[in-house]
Symmetry: C2
């Protein structure tokens, strides 16, 4: 590609990855600003508690490692409590300190890989789609996973800010 052409796709990648990064930063700030008591209080009557959303978002972000072809997950054990089951189905959660560490470690590891990808790699298929299906639908690529997970994060951040102060 010429540099002008490279710029179009590279600038797009920068915009998309910055949007992801700023979403993670916003959520980190919200979680860090909550007391243990606030983390245990549902965001609305009968709805998820922030502590559950912390584990849920960590699990979903962790699952992006294999989905984007970055390698193994760091904390697959989180799925049992925070993805397969709703909040309050499991009484004994990991400690807030542990969950906060997982959140940071998972997002940091992911970011290292995310910022290293080239524009061409962003439009390669993600691992949940077969080569055959990808040939038919080339939008089922890594970038679509990133944007979809960025929206998933915004969705839950919108709920987190409703948490009783």
């Amino acid at each position: 590609m010429t540099s002008a052409q490279l710029t179009v796709a590279q600038v797009m990648v920068t915009v998309a990855t910055s949007s992801w990064k700023s979403g993670v930063g916003r959520a980190s700030k919200l979680f860090a600003g909550m007391t243990d008591e606030q983390l245990m209080e549902p965001v609305a009557p009968g709805r998820n508690r922030p502590i559950y959303l912390l584990g849920h978002l960590t699990a979903i972000h962790d699952s992006m490692h294999p989905l984007l072809g970055f390698g193994e997950r760091l904390h697959p054990e989180l799925d049992e409590i925070f993805v397969k089951q709703p909040d309050r189905a499991v009484a004994a959660l990991p400690s807030t300190a542990d969950l906060t560490t997982y959140w940071t470690v998972v997002n940091d590891a992911l970011w290292q890989k995310i910022e290293a990808l080239s524009p061409e790699e962003w439009v390669e298929r993600h691992t949940a789609v077969s080569e055959e299906d990808f040939a038919k639908t080339p939008t089922r690529n890594r970038l679509s996973v990133l944007l979809s997970r960025t929206n998933h994060l915004s969705f839950h951040v919108g709920q987190l800010i409703l948490a009783p102060k």
Copy 2:
């Protein structure tokens, strides 16, 4: 560009615009599924009502017309009630029927313009940034507006699904 090079940037645009479109579709479905009573019930105690979120999202999407260089807004009058002031500050809202029409008309008009833009046009500056600042920060482009507004939409959709059934 060669066709392979065009594909990288064009596929990225398709992924980003599809993400926007699916967010709008999801919100439309949520609003359409609510009774008048549900639209008037806050999503959580003391928080925004769905009717306010309907007007708010319509106003923000409408403001994307000038921001993306697509021309004049269709309903600038919505800002006074749904952007400049919080929910319940103004007693007399437009009717649900009118707001629903504005939502549809604004999003349809926006989509016509969105789907017509080329990859190169997506990385051009948005109108809230000066040419000078854009030269320094080329990520302040139309695509960044689209992703940011898609996240804004997801943020409020996350709240809408908490609305009492």
